[in-house]
Symmetry: none
DNA sequence: TTCAGAAACACCCGATTGGGTGTATCAAAA
DNA sequence: TTTTGATACACCCAATCGGGTGTTTCTGAA
Protein backbone atom coordinates (compact mmCIF):
# COMPACT_ATOMS: atom_id res chain seq x y z
CA UNK A 1 0.00 0.00 0.00
CA UNK A 2 2.75 2.43 -0.89
CA UNK A 3 1.18 5.69 -1.90
CA UNK A 4 2.52 8.77 -3.59
CA UNK A 5 1.35 11.81 -1.66
CA UNK A 6 1.26 15.53 -2.38
CA UNK A 7 1.09 18.05 0.44
CA UNK A 8 -0.45 21.50 -0.01
CA UNK A 9 0.06 23.70 3.04
CA UNK A 10 1.41 27.21 3.39
CA UNK A 11 3.05 26.49 6.74
CA UNK A 12 6.43 25.04 5.96
CA UNK A 13 6.64 23.73 9.50
CA UNK A 14 3.59 21.62 8.90
CA UNK A 15 5.03 20.47 5.57
CA UNK A 16 8.20 19.35 7.30
CA UNK A 17 6.29 17.66 10.07
CA UNK A 18 4.01 15.81 7.69
CA UNK A 19 6.84 14.70 5.46
CA UNK A 20 8.84 13.48 8.44
CA UNK A 21 5.84 11.60 9.77
CA UNK A 22 4.94 10.05 6.43
CA UNK A 23 8.38 9.09 5.14
CA UNK A 24 9.22 7.62 8.51
CA UNK A 25 6.40 5.16 7.94
CA UNK A 26 7.24 4.20 4.41
CA UNK A 27 5.00 6.61 2.55
CA UNK A 28 6.27 8.59 -0.40
CA UNK A 29 5.87 12.37 -0.39
CA UNK A 30 6.06 13.12 -4.10
CA UNK A 31 5.69 16.87 -3.86
CA UNK A 32 4.83 19.85 -1.72
CA UNK A 33 3.17 23.18 -2.50
CA UNK A 34 2.53 26.28 -0.46
CA UNK A 35 -0.31 27.83 -2.45
CA UNK A 36 -3.50 26.67 -4.10
CA UNK A 37 -2.25 27.45 -7.59
CA UNK A 38 1.01 25.58 -7.08
CA UNK A 39 -0.95 22.74 -5.53
CA UNK A 40 -3.21 22.46 -8.58
CA UNK A 41 -0.25 22.35 -10.94
CA UNK A 42 1.51 19.78 -8.82
CA UNK A 43 -1.49 17.48 -8.46
CA UNK A 44 -2.28 17.67 -12.16
CA UNK A 45 1.26 16.90 -13.22
CA UNK A 46 2.17 14.29 -10.61
CA UNK A 47 -1.20 12.52 -10.38
CA UNK A 48 -0.50 11.32 -6.84
CA UNK A 49 -2.55 8.71 -5.02
CA UNK A 50 -3.48 11.23 -2.36
CA UNK A 51 -3.37 14.99 -1.95
CA UNK A 52 -3.41 16.44 1.55
CA UNK A 53 -4.74 19.97 1.27
CA UNK A 54 -4.91 22.70 3.88
CA UNK A 55 -8.16 24.64 3.95
CA UNK A 56 -6.61 28.04 4.50
CA UNK A 57 -4.16 28.88 1.75
CA UNK A 58 -2.81 32.30 0.82
CA UNK A 59 -4.36 32.55 -2.64
CA UNK A 60 -7.53 30.47 -2.41
CA UNK A 61 -9.46 28.07 -0.24
CA UNK A 62 -8.46 24.44 -0.09
CA UNK A 63 -12.06 23.62 -0.94
CA UNK A 64 -11.72 25.48 -4.21
CA UNK A 65 -8.60 23.48 -4.96
CA UNK A 66 -10.56 20.27 -4.39
CA UNK A 67 -13.39 21.49 -6.62
CA UNK A 68 -10.96 22.32 -9.41
CA UNK A 69 -9.35 18.91 -9.20
CA UNK A 70 -12.69 17.13 -9.14
CA UNK A 71 -13.78 18.85 -12.34
CA UNK A 72 -11.40 16.73 -14.38
CA UNK A 73 -10.12 14.07 -12.03
CA UNK A 74 -12.19 11.60 -10.06
CA UNK A 75 -9.33 9.24 -9.30
CA UNK A 76 -6.94 11.19 -7.10
CA UNK A 77 -7.91 10.89 -3.47
CA UNK A 78 -8.32 14.20 -1.71
CA UNK A 79 -8.12 14.93 1.98
CA UNK A 80 -8.41 18.30 3.62
CA UNK A 81 -6.25 19.03 6.62
CA UNK A 82 -7.34 21.87 8.81
CA UNK A 83 -7.12 23.37 12.27
CA UNK A 84 -10.77 24.18 12.48
CA UNK A 85 -13.98 22.24 12.56
CA UNK A 86 -16.85 23.91 10.83
CA UNK A 87 -20.19 22.54 9.77
CA UNK A 88 -20.35 24.44 6.50
CA UNK A 89 -16.81 23.51 5.57
CA UNK A 90 -17.46 19.84 6.29
CA UNK A 91 -20.54 19.89 4.10
CA UNK A 92 -18.78 21.70 1.29
CA UNK A 93 -16.00 19.11 1.44
CA UNK A 94 -18.35 16.17 1.29
CA UNK A 95 -20.24 17.72 -1.59
CA UNK A 96 -16.98 18.17 -3.41
CA UNK A 97 -16.16 14.52 -2.93
CA UNK A 98 -13.14 14.46 -0.67
CA UNK A 99 -12.10 11.23 1.00
CA UNK A 100 -10.87 12.72 4.26
CA UNK A 101 -11.36 15.58 6.66
CA UNK A 102 -8.52 15.66 9.16
CA UNK A 103 -7.84 18.00 12.05
CA UNK A 104 -4.34 19.34 12.58
CA UNK A 105 -4.40 18.91 16.32
CA UNK A 106 -4.89 15.18 16.00
CA UNK A 107 -2.16 13.02 17.60
CA UNK A 108 0.41 12.10 14.96
CA UNK A 109 -0.36 8.42 15.23
CA UNK A 110 -4.06 8.82 14.52
CA UNK A 111 -3.30 11.15 11.67
CA UNK A 112 -1.02 8.54 10.17
CA UNK A 113 -3.58 5.80 10.56
CA UNK A 114 -6.22 7.97 8.93
CA UNK A 115 -3.96 8.67 5.97
CA UNK A 116 -3.17 4.98 5.58
CA UNK A 117 -6.88 4.22 5.65
CA UNK A 118 -7.57 6.75 2.93
CA UNK A 119 -4.82 5.24 0.79
CA UNK A 120 -6.39 1.85 1.35
CA UNK A 121 -9.59 3.12 -0.18
CA UNK A 122 -11.60 4.09 2.86
CA UNK A 123 -13.07 7.51 3.47
CA UNK A 124 -12.06 8.96 6.78
CA UNK A 125 -13.79 11.72 8.62
CA UNK A 126 -12.32 12.94 11.83
CA UNK A 127 -14.44 11.35 14.59
CA UNK A 128 -15.44 14.73 15.93
CA UNK A 129 -16.97 15.72 12.62
CA UNK A 130 -18.57 12.44 11.69
CA UNK A 131 -21.74 13.38 13.51
CA UNK A 132 -22.34 16.40 11.33
CA UNK A 133 -21.60 14.46 8.20
CA UNK A 134 -23.98 11.64 9.01
CA UNK A 135 -26.81 13.95 9.92
CA UNK A 136 -26.34 15.79 6.68
CA UNK A 137 -26.31 12.60 4.63
CA UNK A 138 -29.52 11.46 6.31
CA UNK A 139 -31.26 14.66 5.40
CA UNK A 140 -29.93 14.41 1.89
CA UNK A 141 -31.33 10.92 1.34
CA UNK A 142 -34.77 11.16 2.83
CA UNK A 143 -36.06 14.69 2.67
CA UNK A 144 -33.63 15.98 0.10
CA UNK A 145 -33.93 19.41 1.64
CA UNK A 146 -30.79 20.26 3.49
CA UNK A 147 -31.69 23.72 4.75
CA UNK A 148 -29.36 25.92 6.74
CA UNK A 149 -26.29 24.81 4.84
CA UNK A 150 -24.37 26.89 2.34
CA UNK A 151 -24.00 25.28 -1.07
CA UNK A 152 -21.19 25.86 -3.53
CA UNK A 153 -22.87 28.77 -5.25
CA UNK A 154 -23.37 30.50 -1.91
CA UNK A 155 -19.66 30.20 -1.26
CA UNK A 156 -18.92 31.57 -4.72
CA UNK A 157 -21.12 34.58 -4.03
CA UNK A 158 -19.43 35.09 -0.66
CA UNK A 159 -16.06 35.07 -2.40
CA UNK A 160 -17.16 37.82 -4.78
CA UNK A 161 -18.68 39.78 -1.91
CA UNK A 162 -15.37 39.52 -0.05
CA UNK A 163 -13.68 41.15 -3.02
CA UNK A 164 -15.95 44.15 -2.65
CA UNK A 165 -18.28 43.39 -5.56
CA UNK A 166 -21.77 44.88 -5.55
CA UNK A 167 -24.89 42.77 -5.99
CA UNK A 168 -25.25 44.16 -9.48
CA UNK A 169 -21.70 43.17 -10.43
CA UNK A 170 -22.15 39.70 -8.98
CA UNK A 171 -25.38 39.33 -10.92
CA UNK A 172 -23.76 40.24 -14.23
CA UNK A 173 -20.87 37.88 -13.53
CA UNK A 174 -23.13 34.95 -12.68
CA UNK A 175 -25.76 35.77 -15.36
CA UNK A 176 -28.43 36.42 -12.77
CA UNK A 177 -30.39 39.57 -12.03
CA UNK A 178 -29.46 41.89 -9.21
CA UNK A 179 -32.75 40.99 -7.54
CA UNK A 180 -31.88 37.33 -7.52
CA UNK A 181 -28.50 38.07 -6.01
CA UNK A 182 -30.19 40.11 -3.32
CA UNK A 183 -32.46 37.20 -2.49
CA UNK A 184 -29.55 34.77 -2.40
CA UNK A 185 -27.48 37.15 -0.30
CA UNK A 186 -30.31 37.52 2.20
CA UNK A 187 -30.57 33.76 2.39
CA UNK A 188 -26.88 33.58 3.16
CA UNK A 189 -27.30 36.11 5.96
CA UNK A 190 -30.09 34.05 7.48
CA UNK A 191 -28.09 30.84 7.31
CA UNK A 192 -24.98 32.38 8.79
CA UNK A 193 -26.99 34.18 11.44
CA UNK A 194 -25.65 37.60 10.51
CA UNK A 195 -27.33 40.78 9.43
CA UNK A 196 -25.08 42.47 6.90
CA UNK A 197 -22.39 42.07 4.27
CA UNK A 198 -19.35 42.70 6.41
CA UNK A 199 -20.44 40.24 9.08
CA UNK A 200 -21.21 37.59 6.49
CA UNK A 201 -17.82 37.91 4.84
CA UNK A 202 -16.02 37.87 8.18
CA UNK A 203 -17.93 34.78 9.28
CA UNK A 204 -17.13 33.01 6.04
CA UNK A 205 -13.50 34.00 6.28
CA UNK A 206 -13.14 32.84 9.85
CA UNK A 207 -14.75 29.54 8.94
CA UNK A 208 -12.28 29.03 6.12
CA UNK A 209 -14.88 29.22 3.36
CA UNK A 210 -12.93 31.85 1.43
CA UNK B 1 26.35 27.91 19.80
CA UNK B 2 24.72 24.58 20.54
CA UNK B 3 21.51 25.30 22.31
CA UNK B 4 19.12 23.19 24.28
CA UNK B 5 15.61 24.02 23.15
CA UNK B 6 12.16 23.33 24.51
CA UNK B 7 9.09 23.40 22.26
CA UNK B 8 5.61 24.20 23.55
CA UNK B 9 2.93 23.67 20.91
CA UNK B 10 -0.35 21.77 20.90
CA UNK B 11 -0.11 20.77 17.24
CA UNK B 12 1.93 17.59 17.12
CA UNK B 13 2.58 18.17 13.44
CA UNK B 14 4.30 21.44 14.22
CA UNK B 15 6.27 19.76 17.01
CA UNK B 16 7.48 17.13 14.59
CA UNK B 17 8.31 19.71 11.96
CA UNK B 18 10.22 21.91 14.36
CA UNK B 19 12.13 19.02 15.84
CA UNK B 20 13.09 17.75 12.40
CA UNK B 21 14.20 21.19 11.32
CA UNK B 22 16.22 21.90 14.44
CA UNK B 23 17.92 18.55 14.95
CA UNK B 24 18.82 18.44 11.28
CA UNK B 25 20.87 21.58 11.87
CA UNK B 26 22.64 20.48 15.00
CA UNK B 27 20.32 21.98 17.58
CA UNK B 28 19.21 19.97 20.56
CA UNK B 29 15.50 19.68 21.28
CA UNK B 30 15.57 18.87 24.98
CA UNK B 31 11.84 18.56 25.45
CA UNK B 32 8.38 19.12 24.05
CA UNK B 33 5.08 20.04 25.66
CA UNK B 34 1.55 20.35 24.33
CA UNK B 35 0.01 22.59 27.01
CA UNK B 36 1.03 25.73 28.91
CA UNK B 37 1.17 23.94 32.26
CA UNK B 38 3.38 21.16 30.90
CA UNK B 39 5.51 23.78 29.22
CA UNK B 40 6.07 25.67 32.48
CA UNK B 41 7.10 22.49 34.30
CA UNK B 42 9.41 21.51 31.50
CA UNK B 43 11.11 24.89 31.20
CA UNK B 44 11.58 25.16 34.97
CA UNK B 45 13.07 21.72 35.29
CA UNK B 46 15.20 21.64 32.16
CA UNK B 47 16.34 25.29 32.15
CA UNK B 48 16.86 25.27 28.38
CA UNK B 49 18.69 27.99 26.48
CA UNK B 50 15.57 28.76 24.49
CA UNK B 51 11.87 28.03 24.76
CA UNK B 52 9.72 28.24 21.61
CA UNK B 53 6.15 28.84 22.73
CA UNK B 54 2.97 28.82 20.70
CA UNK B 55 0.56 31.66 21.52
CA UNK B 56 -2.57 29.56 21.22
CA UNK B 57 -2.47 26.72 23.73
CA UNK B 58 -5.37 24.67 25.03
CA UNK B 59 -5.12 25.69 28.67
CA UNK B 60 -3.63 29.19 28.59
CA UNK B 61 -2.04 31.81 26.37
CA UNK B 62 1.60 31.50 25.43
CA UNK B 63 2.02 35.06 26.65
CA UNK B 64 0.94 33.98 30.11
CA UNK B 65 3.51 31.23 29.99
CA UNK B 66 6.20 33.79 29.14
CA UNK B 67 5.08 36.07 31.95
CA UNK B 68 5.19 33.21 34.46
CA UNK B 69 8.69 32.28 33.40
CA UNK B 70 9.90 35.86 33.52
CA UNK B 71 8.76 36.23 37.13
CA UNK B 72 11.58 34.03 38.36
CA UNK B 73 13.86 33.57 35.39
CA UNK B 74 15.52 36.26 33.35
CA UNK B 75 18.08 33.97 31.74
CA UNK B 76 16.06 31.57 29.60
CA UNK B 77 15.44 33.03 26.18
CA UNK B 78 11.82 33.04 25.14
CA UNK B 79 10.36 33.18 21.66
CA UNK B 80 6.71 33.03 20.72
CA UNK B 81 5.77 31.13 17.60
CA UNK B 82 2.38 31.83 16.18
CA UNK B 83 0.20 31.80 13.10
CA UNK B 84 -1.42 35.11 13.85
CA UNK B 85 -0.07 38.60 13.79
CA UNK B 86 -1.73 40.86 16.24
CA UNK B 87 -0.49 44.27 17.20
CA UNK B 88 -1.67 43.93 20.75
CA UNK B 89 -0.09 40.53 21.10
CA UNK B 90 3.19 41.86 19.71
CA UNK B 91 3.03 44.73 22.16
CA UNK B 92 2.35 42.40 25.08
CA UNK B 93 5.22 40.16 24.04
CA UNK B 94 7.71 42.99 23.89
CA UNK B 95 6.61 44.20 27.29
CA UNK B 96 7.00 40.71 28.71
CA UNK B 97 10.56 40.60 27.50
CA UNK B 98 10.58 37.88 24.89
CA UNK B 99 13.52 37.64 22.50
CA UNK B 100 11.57 36.56 19.47
CA UNK B 101 8.21 36.81 17.76
CA UNK B 102 8.09 34.33 14.89
CA UNK B 103 5.33 33.56 12.43
CA UNK B 104 4.55 29.97 11.58
CA UNK B 105 4.21 30.64 7.88
CA UNK B 106 7.79 31.79 7.63
CA UNK B 107 10.01 29.76 5.27
CA UNK B 108 11.85 27.09 7.26
CA UNK B 109 15.23 28.55 6.47
CA UNK B 110 14.38 31.98 7.81
CA UNK B 111 12.83 30.43 10.87
CA UNK B 112 16.01 28.50 11.50
CA UNK B 113 18.18 31.56 11.03
CA UNK B 114 15.98 33.52 13.41
CA UNK B 115 16.28 30.82 16.06
CA UNK B 116 20.04 30.70 15.64
CA UNK B 117 20.16 34.46 16.02
CA UNK B 118 18.18 34.31 19.22
CA UNK B 119 20.49 31.64 20.58
CA UNK B 120 23.42 33.91 19.68
CA UNK B 121 21.97 36.61 21.87
CA UNK B 122 20.07 38.73 19.39
CA UNK B 123 16.41 39.62 19.63
CA UNK B 124 14.43 38.79 16.50
CA UNK B 125 11.10 40.16 15.44
CA UNK B 126 9.50 38.78 12.36
CA UNK B 127 10.02 41.31 9.55
CA UNK B 128 6.32 41.79 9.00
CA UNK B 129 5.93 42.56 12.67
CA UNK B 130 8.92 44.83 13.01
CA UNK B 131 7.15 47.57 11.09
CA UNK B 132 4.38 47.78 13.62
CA UNK B 133 6.74 47.68 16.55
CA UNK B 134 8.89 50.45 15.11
CA UNK B 135 5.96 52.60 14.15
CA UNK B 136 4.59 52.20 17.61
CA UNK B 137 7.89 53.22 19.15
CA UNK B 138 8.12 56.22 16.84
CA UNK B 139 4.74 57.47 17.85
CA UNK B 140 5.75 57.15 21.47
CA UNK B 141 8.93 59.16 21.03
CA UNK B 142 7.86 61.96 18.79
CA UNK B 143 4.94 63.24 16.89
CA UNK B 144 6.78 62.59 13.69
CA UNK B 145 4.77 62.82 10.53
CA UNK B 146 3.33 59.31 10.17
CA UNK B 147 1.15 60.04 7.17
CA UNK B 148 -0.71 57.30 5.38
CA UNK B 149 -0.58 55.11 8.45
CA UNK B 150 -3.59 53.92 10.35
CA UNK B 151 -3.55 55.12 13.92
CA UNK B 152 -5.05 53.31 16.87
CA UNK B 153 -8.44 54.90 16.45
CA UNK B 154 -8.58 53.87 12.81
CA UNK B 155 -7.94 50.30 13.85
CA UNK B 156 -10.61 50.58 16.52
CA UNK B 157 -13.07 51.78 13.89
CA UNK B 158 -12.07 48.94 11.59
CA UNK B 159 -12.66 46.48 14.39
CA UNK B 160 -16.18 47.81 14.90
CA UNK B 161 -16.79 47.79 11.14
CA UNK B 162 -15.67 44.17 11.04
CA UNK B 163 -18.32 43.37 13.61
CA UNK B 164 -20.97 44.77 11.29
CA UNK B 165 -21.56 48.08 13.04
CA UNK B 166 -23.02 50.97 11.04
CA UNK B 167 -21.36 54.38 10.93
CA UNK B 168 -24.11 55.68 13.18
CA UNK B 169 -23.53 52.97 15.78
CA UNK B 170 -19.78 53.53 15.69
CA UNK B 171 -20.34 57.25 16.15
CA UNK B 172 -22.50 56.76 19.21
CA UNK B 173 -20.02 54.33 20.69
CA UNK B 174 -17.05 56.67 20.17
CA UNK B 175 -18.99 59.84 21.03
CA UNK B 176 -18.58 61.23 17.55
CA UNK B 177 -21.18 62.15 14.96
CA UNK B 178 -22.06 59.87 12.10
CA UNK B 179 -20.64 62.47 9.70
CA UNK B 180 -17.29 62.36 11.42
CA UNK B 181 -17.22 58.60 11.25
CA UNK B 182 -18.00 58.79 7.57
CA UNK B 183 -15.07 61.14 7.05
CA UNK B 184 -12.75 58.89 9.05
CA UNK B 185 -13.96 55.80 7.25
CA UNK B 186 -13.35 57.42 3.88
CA UNK B 187 -9.85 58.31 5.02
CA UNK B 188 -9.29 54.69 5.95
CA UNK B 189 -10.44 53.59 2.48
CA UNK B 190 -8.01 56.02 0.88
CA UNK B 191 -5.10 54.84 3.00
CA UNK B 192 -5.83 51.17 2.43
CA UNK B 193 -6.42 51.74 -1.27
CA UNK B 194 -9.89 50.19 -1.24
CA UNK B 195 -13.29 51.48 -2.17
CA UNK B 196 -15.80 49.99 0.23
CA UNK B 197 -16.44 48.53 3.67
CA UNK B 198 -16.01 44.87 2.87
CA UNK B 199 -12.71 45.40 1.10
CA UNK B 200 -11.40 47.55 3.92
CA UNK B 201 -12.23 44.97 6.55
CA UNK B 202 -10.75 42.16 4.49
CA UNK B 203 -7.55 44.14 3.94
CA UNK B 204 -7.25 44.91 7.62
CA UNK B 205 -7.94 41.29 8.52
CA UNK B 206 -5.38 39.97 6.07
CA UNK B 207 -2.80 42.42 7.38
CA UNK B 208 -3.39 41.23 10.91
CA UNK B 209 -4.81 44.52 12.12
CA UNK B 210 -7.89 42.90 13.59
C1' DT C 1 -0.05 88.07 15.72
C1' DT C 2 -1.18 85.63 11.89
C1' DC C 3 -1.52 81.59 9.32
C1' DA C 4 -1.85 76.60 8.25
C1' DG C 5 -3.77 72.57 9.12
C1' DA C 6 -5.89 69.20 11.92
C1' DA C 7 -10.29 67.60 14.00
C1' DA C 8 -15.18 67.39 14.24
C1' DC C 9 -18.76 68.33 12.47
C1' DA C 10 -23.25 69.85 8.95
C1' DC C 11 -25.56 69.37 4.57
C1' DC C 12 -26.33 67.29 0.22
C1' DC C 13 -27.04 63.70 -3.16
C1' DG C 14 -26.83 59.56 -5.88
C1' DA C 15 -25.81 54.59 -5.38
C1' DT C 16 -26.30 50.55 -2.84
C1' DT C 17 -28.00 47.67 0.60
C1' DG C 18 -31.49 45.35 3.60
C1' DG C 19 -35.83 43.49 3.68
C1' DG C 20 -40.49 42.68 2.29
C1' DT C 21 -44.16 41.11 -0.94
C1' DG C 22 -45.55 39.01 -5.18
C1' DT C 23 -45.15 36.10 -9.56
C1' DA C 24 -43.96 32.82 -13.48
C1' DT C 25 -41.77 28.55 -14.40
C1' DC C 26 -40.53 23.93 -13.84
C1' DA C 27 -39.73 19.49 -11.84
C1' DA C 28 -40.76 16.18 -8.54
C1' DA C 29 -43.80 14.27 -5.10
C1' DA C 30 -48.47 13.15 -3.52
C1' DT D 1 -53.63 15.20 -11.72
C1' DT D 2 -52.73 18.40 -8.27
C1' DT D 3 -49.69 20.27 -5.24
C1' DT D 4 -45.58 21.49 -3.52
C1' DG D 5 -40.93 23.36 -3.59
C1' DA D 6 -37.17 25.51 -5.49
C1' DT D 7 -35.52 28.96 -8.63
C1' DA D 8 -35.27 33.33 -10.71
C1' DC D 9 -36.94 37.10 -11.02
C1' DA D 10 -39.92 42.21 -10.42
C1' DC D 11 -41.28 46.09 -7.59
C1' DC D 12 -41.06 48.86 -3.58
C1' DC D 13 -39.15 51.48 0.20
C1' DA D 14 -36.40 52.87 4.14
C1' DA D 15 -31.75 52.82 5.79
C1' DT D 16 -27.15 53.12 4.92
C1' DC D 17 -23.11 54.01 2.33
C1' DG D 18 -19.81 56.65 -0.75
C1' DG D 19 -18.22 60.96 -1.69
C1' DG D 20 -18.24 65.90 -2.11
C1' DT D 21 -18.35 70.76 -0.28
C1' DG D 22 -18.20 74.02 3.45
C1' DT D 23 -17.88 75.77 8.59
C1' DT D 24 -16.12 76.13 13.17
C1' DT D 25 -12.65 75.54 16.58
C1' DC D 26 -8.29 74.80 18.28
C1' DT D 27 -3.36 74.32 18.24
C1' DG D 28 1.33 74.89 16.85
C1' DA D 29 4.61 77.23 13.86
C1' DA D 30 6.16 81.37 11.29
Amino acid sequence: MTGRIVIVDDHELVQIGLRALLTEHGLDVAGQAATGAEGLDLIRSLKPDLALIDIRLPDMSGIQVCQEIRKTDEATRLAVLTALMDKNVVHACIQTGVQGYLLKDLPAEELLRAIQNILAGKAVLDPTVTGYALKWLEMRQESGAEKEVLDLRDVEILRLMAQGWSNQAIGKYLHLSENTIKALVNDIYRRLGVKNRVEAVMEAYRHGLL
